[in-house]
């Protein structure tokens, strides 16, 4: 028996060795502008999550429909740490010219691959490391969270608004901060109560976290999690909420006031077009960072596309007035429109993080007359005054 088995082992090992030595790596050349282009997308979650990965994939499809010269492939549910392997696969076997990696956790792996394939073009979403052939991009919601916060502050009766967060990372801390700035502008005494679920996707955790916030007396809900759970929980109790990532109006037409919708296609279309035209190559991306906001239309505020504020809440918001130092007495509804206009303006007349802003320990974090820089925003780790709850 031993001899028979060991033969099998030996033959297998030999076969492996032979294949190893025979096959040669075939590598495609650098992309020539104007020729058909192939882009590969690497997602961290399943495209069926109705959140982050779903939104990126929608954008990918739009790109493919828009550009006749574009072909795309995607890989879903890629574990962090495995991105290098899929990049290899997409480049060597699928012949991709451009690779998009769409999770912060893919940052180091993408950089290593970018150095390994200096002729290929890489784009990493939500990170901060770049290379001559690797750009970074992000469609950020913080301005919209601020606008949602304004509405939330106006609508809360208990002076407690709620935010269910996925992970305590800079991105969420920034969004919570912006939301809080909005809430306090509308109602200086109101608080933002937060809970973390430590998952990007967990309907049960999101549900119980929302229920816990309801039990604490919160009556308006925002969140960051890849399912419509929080919207549904709030609706059951008749509380207003803000959809996240995908349009969530359909899950509760009466109670979704507004929300954040991503339009990743704006970034993808722009970038791919420039690669096709030869403006972006594998040698000039070291300083390219798409930090796209309202003014670039990479993000949209709304309960669903085109519906800025759910009409059900229009009258209520028009009836609530606040005294703005610059604009004077103004209804919350009009203030939201005004701020939206200001932020959509190319010169960004207004930004949520205009000083003075204090953290919850009472330290002045953003002095009067200053704004937070993109770097400060992407590394934000302090809690804006008004946030109540665990911070790590």
């Amino acid at each position: 028996m031993f001899t028979q088995r060991s033969k099998v082992v030996l033959v297998t090992a030999l076969a492996i060795a032979v294949i190893f030595s025979l096959t040669s790596v075939t590598m495609a050349k650098e992309y020539v502008p104007g020729t058909p282009l192939k882009a590969g997308f690497i997602y961290v979650g399943p495209i069926g999550d109705l959140g982050w990965s779903h939104a990126h994939d929608e954008a990918r499809r739009i790109c493919e429909d828009t550009f006749p010269w574009l072909e795309t492939v995607y890989v879903e549910s890629v574990a962090e740490g495995s991105e290098g392997l899929y990049i290899d696969k997409l480049i060597r076997e699928e012949g991709c010219d451009v690779i998009f990696t769409t999770s912060f956790g893919f940052m180091d792996g993408t950089l290593i691959s970018a150095q390994k394939y200096p002729d290929k073009i890489f784009a990493h979403c939500s990170g901060f490391k770049r290379n001559p052939n690797m750009m970074t991009y992000m469609a950020d919601f913080y301005q919209i969270y601020y606008l949602n916060g304004l509405i939330a502050g106006a609508l809360t009766k208990t002076n407690k608004t709620a935010y269910v967060g996925a992970f305590p990372i800079p991105e969420l801390k920034r969004h919570m901060g912006a939301f809080t700035v909005g809430v306090r502008e509308a109602k200086p005494k109101a608080e933002v109560h937060i809970r973390w679920i430590y998952e990007w996707f967990s309907p049960t955790a999101a549900k119980e976290a929302a229920e816990a916030l309801i039990a604490d007396g919160c009556d308006v809900f925002a969140f960051t999690e890849d399912s419509p759970t929080v919207v549904q929980v709030a609706a059951e109790k008749g509380f207003p909420s803000f959809g996240h990532y995908s349009p969530m109006y359909d899950f509760s037409p009466e109670h979704v006031v507004s929300g954040q919708i991503a339009h990743w296609e704006e970034i993808y279309l722009d970038f791919l077009a420039k690669v096709y035209a030869g403006a972006y190559t594998a040698h000039n991306l070291a300083d390219v960072d798409y930090w796209w906001l309202l003014k670039e239309k990479a993000v949209e505020m709304g309960a669903k596309p085109g519906m800025l504020i759910n009409p059900t809440y229009e009258d209520e918001l028009k009836a609530i007035h606040i005294n703005d130092p610059v604009l004077g007495m103004i209804s919350v509804y009009d203030l939201v429109l005004k701020r939206l206009e200001q932020m959509a303006d190319p010169s960004m007349v207004f930004d949520p993080f205009n000083g003075p802003i204090y953290d919850r320990e009472g330290n002045l974090r953003v002095p009067e007359g200053l704004r937070m820089s993109v770097f400060e925003l992407t590394t934000m780790d302090w809690a804006v005054d008004g946030i109540v709850g665990p911070w790590e």
Partner: protein, 359 residues
């Protein structure tokens, strides 16, 4: 014409190696045929799909390297599991033991302060101990208190998962991770070398191959191995022969847990270079290794082949995801089917079915 087909099912004494091999092959083939139906549903020709999978996982050096890389943790866990299964200890906990090995190795890499050349060996030793301790707990509970091993090992996987989660969210969260739940990256001296151009961390691979051979010899040619086999094949006789179940169970779980721990070291020092979320450290290697050991019919040497086979299936999953654009969940269907057909085929090994036509 009237005739009658008679079935006769008899117990088969011991199936020969060849029959085992043949039956396993048939089972896998049957599973592939059934899985082919799902390819059809998605409008992909099963034959073309399998061709692509084979080409993508074995047909070029790159795919092959990935197959081998995934086979490494399966090999280590699988070899350990064959030993535990031999002694009828149902270790479902390789996943948790792997994670605890990774934890121990991370502790050594980040906090031991050992000089460069000593670091990796210390990580392997630490990882072995981490996995072995995690494996010994259910072993001790079983031999002293008679606690069901299936359940304890399974439950301890989850305790390990949340322990890792706690570490990366709490005390071991790296200051350079920017708020994300990772440990800091290991110092360079704690990185395993890889075969050029691939992600095969070869020291772990060599370790796995050597241990497979060593375990084969241990089981078949040593006193301890004899005791393990007797306990597994005939517990009553073992008692009669004065074989200590206490000692043997502890030994097999020391090995099984320790090997899974080594697999954890390989993943953490060869692929990730830091401690991160449990589902990113191991893509269910500990569970897949159960199938691997099962398919190898508890023969440590055969694990070399079966782990490679599942390496093919796992990197074949990439083909399904990338080239065919099918839902990656198809892999779970695949694995489930293969397992069912394998356990179904057991009946062919235990019983002899003969047909005869009577007139």
């Amino acid at each position: 014409m009237t005739g009658r087909v008679d079935f006769k099912i008899e117990r088969r004494p011991v199936a020969s190696g060849f029959i085992v091999f043949l039956v396993s092959l048939i089972a896998i083939f049957a599973a592939l045929v059934v899985a082919g139906i799902f390819f059809r549903i998605y409008g992909v020709s099963p034959i073309r799909a399998y061709q692509q999978i084979l080409r993508g996982s074995l047909g070029n050096s790159f795919g092959l390297a990935e197959t081998v890389r995934r086979a490494i943790p399966l090999l280590l866990c699988g070899v350990g599991l064959t030993i535990a299964f031999r002694a009828l200890f149902w270790n479902i906990g390789a996943e948790g033991q792997l994670l605890m090995g990774a934890v121990a190795a991370t502790g050594v890499a980040l906090f031991s302060g050992l000089p460069g050349p000593l670091l990796l060996p210390a990580m392997f030793i630490g990882g072995f101990i981490g996995g072995a301790v995690w494996g010994l707990i259910p072993a001790i509970l079983k031999v002293i208190l008679g606690v069901n091993d299936v359940i304890t090992t399974l439950m301890m996987n989850y305790v390990a998962i949340y322990f890792v989660e706690w570490l990366i969210h709490g005390p071991w969260k790296g200051p350079s991770a920017r708020g994300f739940a990772y440990s800091d990256t290991f110092p360079r001296a704690a990185w395993l070398p890889t075969i050029y151009g691939t992600r095969i961390h070869w020291p772990t691979l060599v370790l796995g191959l050597v241990l497979a051979v060593v375990m084969y010899i241990l089981v078949n040619y040593t006193r301890s191995g004899f005791e393990i086999r007797v306990i597994g094949e005939n517990p009553d006789a073992a008692k009669y022969a004065g074989i200590s179940q206490f000692k043997t169970t502890l030994l097999v779980m020391f090995i099984s847990g320790g090997f899974a721990g080594l697999a954890g070291v390989g993943e953490i020092a060869g692929i990730h270079m830091r401690l991160l979320g449990p589902s990113h450290i191991s893509m269910g290697y500990g569970y897949t290794a159960i199938i691997v050991a099962w398919l190898a019919r508890r023969n440590p040497l055969a694990v070399i082949i079966t782990s490679l086979l599942f390496g093919v299936i796992m990197s074949g999953g990439d083909v399904i995801k990338v080239s065919l654009g099918l839902p990656f969940q198809l892999i779970n269907v695949f694995n489930g089917l293969i397992l069912f057909f394998l356990i179904g085929s057991e009946i062919l090994l235990r019983y002899k079915i003969s047909f005869s036509l009577r007139r």
